[in-house]
């Protein structure tokens, strides 16, 4: 049996050998040979998106919900540049994505040829690694290496740029066996001496807290299981970043809710007052820490991360442990067994936490006249929680309300753009999730502004009969921008009101989807049930209170214990926000 084939055939063969079943892409001149090779096979389903940004986000949704790498195929020039936002998003949130781009033939590179761009130059900063394949001999190795690099260590996007002449060239194919990068071998197990030190610190702690992040979800379901085991064994309270929601169940007794800018009062105060912080797979992002020099001032900090550069990047820690979250959690759990925390101190700590919890920082004033956005999310949660549900979000107030009021019990159930904050992420991500989980209920919790950024993907959903549900909290404003303008710019709502919104019901129908509108709190449940029971794509236009603010909130430049809570009056808000905070993002 010969293994001679063209470069284009190698691409398809390598994807098959890597177990790829779904490919998101958009054809063009520089990838025609690969599309021709795809035409002759049926093991990989190609999903035709309507914009390359959609392909990248769909691959992210597919990857994050399934634990496999997401794969996209786009053409040179505009195909590659349109994918940049999605690649950057995947880099920030550590999502394994392999992006194959076509390139003009090698002899035209550098000549400003039609649809030429310096793809490896442009994507160098928004990928974990990238390759320009100059000769057919390198192609099989690079293709398999791309999957290895995307999925090993801290995951991320990898670009393989293939000139058209290389796609036509004939060479010998080699399979993925023994593909290991010559230098890239991330450390998985932690140094046992560090584990021993960590356990000692945990046993001595009086006010400990677990601060967990997306790294646990990236490390696979076993990491979440081990986290739950370790948390139960120790009895320590636990909070999580947006990206880590679901690793520990929201119904668990140790759960404090999400932390950070829109986190709960109890989570943020516990972070501020703890004497031992155990950060696992989280990266001390500015949305989490608030004012750095006032961040958890009295605590010792342990940081577990697979990426050595994450440790001591923003916050100086006392013990940095490099390793894969699942491996380190297993080591920690084994080392902890038989030990016990300071029960007396822990009981005191929990009673303090209960006092913070009693402030009920996620409360809001409901209304019978107008749908409150928080109420809409709460009802959506109640009506979908017993089903096999996956949630994606766009970016803004609705995203934070989803994080606060939709309670995640399992990992891989929330797909959201955390690091980059990409409006337009949710719908294509939902398409990716639905393709990975055909029979599940997939809901994109959206805002009316975000959804318009990638609305064209409704056409993709229609083509592949994907029953994704787009649940729009429509307040006619870019809500988070409006909120910041209210709080920081004296209510000067510069360009944050959308004066000419489409009729989302008609828009849905134009795309071959079902449109539902609801503006009456009394009929909300029935309308949500109608959405759930509709076996096709649904756009749900949920008309909500236009001026609701997302609280609680740590204003920029403030510490964890300086939150604005629901019910704060104007004077309190005035005092909470100062000029120094205004210059921050």
């Amino acid at each position: 049996m010969t293994n001679l084939m063209t470069g284009a055939e190698m691409v398809v063969r390598a994807l098959q050998d890597q177990g790829v079943t779904t490919l998101f892409g958009y054809p063009g001149g520089a990838v025609l040979p690969i599309y021709d090779a795809l035409f002759h096979q049926d093991r990989i389903q190609h999903v035709l998106v309507r914009h390359e940004q959609g392909a990248a986000h769909a691959a992210e949704g597919f990857a994050r919900s399934s634990g496999k790498a997401g794969v996209i195929l786009v053409t040179s020039g505009p195909g590659a540049t349109n994918a940049i936002t999605g690649l950057t998003d995947a880099l920030m949130d550590s999502i394994p994505v392999v992006c194959i781009t076509g390139q003009v033939p090698t002899h035209l590179i550098g000549s400003d040829a039609f649809q030429e761009c310096d793809t490896v130059g442009i994507t160098r900063h928004c990928t974990k690694h990238n390759y320009l394949v100059r000769q057919i001999e390198d192609l099989p190795r690079i293709l398999h290496e791309a999957f290895y690099v995307a999925q090993h260590g801290r995951p991320g996007p990898v670009v393989v740029d293939i000139p058209k002449d290389v796609q036509f060239a004939v060479g010998a194919y080699a399979g993925p066996q023994n593909i290991e990068h010559k230098t890239y071998r991330p450390r998985l197990d932690a140094d046992p001496a560090l584990i021993a030190r960590a356990v000692k610190m945990m046993a001595a702690a009086k006010r400990p807290i677990f601060y967990t992040g997306g790294g646990i979800i990236n490390a696979g379901p076993e990491a979440s299981r081990l986290l739950r085991e370790l948390a139960e064994l120790t009895g320590f309270p636990l909070t999580s970043t947006l990206m880590g929601l679901g690793a520990y169940p929201a119904s668990g007794k140790l759960w404090l809710g999400m932390l950070g800018m829109h986190g709960t009062y109890e989570a943020n105060n516990a972070m501020h007052d703890c004497d031992l912080m155990i950060a696992i797979g989280a990266r001390f992002d500015d949305r989490i820490t608030g004012r750095l020099d006032a961040f958890s001032p009295g605590s010792k900090k342990i940081h577990i991360d697979i990426d050595p550069s994450s440790i001591n990047k923003n916050v100086k820690v006392d013990l940095g442990i490099v390793g894969d979250c699942a491996h380190v959690l297993r080591q920690l759990t084994e080392a902890w067994r038989g030990r016990s925390a300071d029960q007396e101190a822990l009981a005191k700590w929990w009673s303090q936490i209960d006092k913070w919890r009693a402030r009920n920082s996620l409360s809001f004033k409901n209304s019978s006249q107008v749908i409150k956005p928080q109420h809409a999310i709460k009802r959506l949660y109640e009506l979908t929680k017993s089903r096999d549900t996956y949630i994606t979000t766009e970016v803004g107030q609705h995203q934070m309300w989803a994080a606060q009021h939709y309670h995640f019990e399992e990992p891989n159930r929330l797909m959201t753009s955390g690091g980059l904050g990409t409006m337009g992420y949710g719908l294509p991500a939902a398409i990716g999730v639905q393709l990975a989980h055909r029979g599940s209920l997939v809901i994109d919790i959206a805002g009316e502004a975000s959804i318009l950024m990638c609305i064209q993907e409704l056409s993709t959903a229609a083509q592949y009969r994907l029953p994704v549900k787009v649940f729009i909290l429509n307040n006619e404003y870019m809500g988070m921008v409006r909120q910041w303008q209210e709080l920081l710019h004296d209510g000067r709502y510069s360009e944050s009101y959308t004066a000419a919104l489409p009729d989302f019901v008609k828009l849905a129908e134009a795309f071959g989807a079902r449109g539902i509108r609801c503006s009456d709190p009394a009929s909300l449940d029935a309308a949500i049930m109608e959405m759930i029971d509709t076996p096709e794509t649904v756009v749900f236009d949920c008309v909500v209170d236009q001026t609701e603010n997302c609280l609680p909130m740590i204003p920029s430049g403030k510490a964890h214990n300086e939150m604005i809570l629901p019910g704060a009056d104007e004077e309190e808000i005035e005092q909470a926000i100062d000029a120094a905070g205004r210059v921050l993002v």
Binding site: V120, G121, R124, H125, K128, H129, L132, R134, V149, H181, K182, T183, Y184, D286, R291, L292, D293, D307, P308, S309, I311, N312, K313, N314, K316, G557, V583, L584
Partner: protein, 193 residues
């Protein structure tokens, strides 16, 4: 060219804040470190390294790069960088994160490394200045690699400070221009860097 002054001003300047809350990073304790980075000699590897420095706002004081093992396709990049110690630790980790990077050694942190730089210095002048230039060149063991009736080009190898000093001495005599290679460095003793 005003490298000596540039360095001094750098060392007295406040640390470039790593966050809006620069106080979190303490005083402006700027250090200068030499990093030796062994990389795969593949297209774009230098752009990756340099792009990392510009993208994350790190300083490059000098940079040299050349292939050092042809059969293994290895190049060594020697970078002199400056910043507060925690930033320099970050730089090492960020460099290690690049896929084609084999090894990063902070020679300053490790101590006891040899560092050398080569410079060409063009000096023009006649009469007494010309004699003085030659005398100083001899004292510094600089070689004359080009001469005309009214100029010399000197070649000087040595530690950075020695070259800085020679250049300062040539300035009043008739310094025209300087070309420097940047620092090459290696650990002392039998073990590889």
């Amino acid at each position: 060219m005003r490298r000596a002054e540039f360095w001094c001003s750098r060392m007295n300047a406040p640390a470039a804040p790593l966050s809006p809350y620069s106080s979190a990073h303490g005083k402006s304790n700027i250090e200068v470190h030499t990093l030796s980075v062994l990389v795969d000699n593949e297209p774009g590897v230098l752009a990756r390294v340099v792009g990392l420095f510009s993208g994350r706002g790190y300083n490059i004081e000098s940079l040299t790069v050349a292939e050092v093992a042809h059969a293994e396709h290895l190049s060594r990049i020697t970078i002199v960088t400056s910043g507060p110690p925690e930033a320099i630790e970050q730089i090492s980790h960020q460099l290690e994160r690049l896929v084609p990077v084999h090894k990063v050694t902070d020679l300053t942190l490790r101590g006891n490394a040899v560092e050398r730089e080569l410079a060409m210095i063009k000096v023009a002048g006649t009469g007494q200045n010309r004699d003085e230039a030659l005398r100083l060149a001899e004292a510094f063991r600089a070689r004359v690699i080009d001469a005309s009736i009214e100029s010399f080009v000197f070649e000087l190898t040595g530690a950075v400070g020695k070259i800085d000093q020679f250049i300062e001495l040539m300035r009043p005599i008739g310094l025209v221009e300087v070309s420097r290679t940047g620092v090459a460095a290696m650990s002392r003793g039998p073990d590889p860097t």
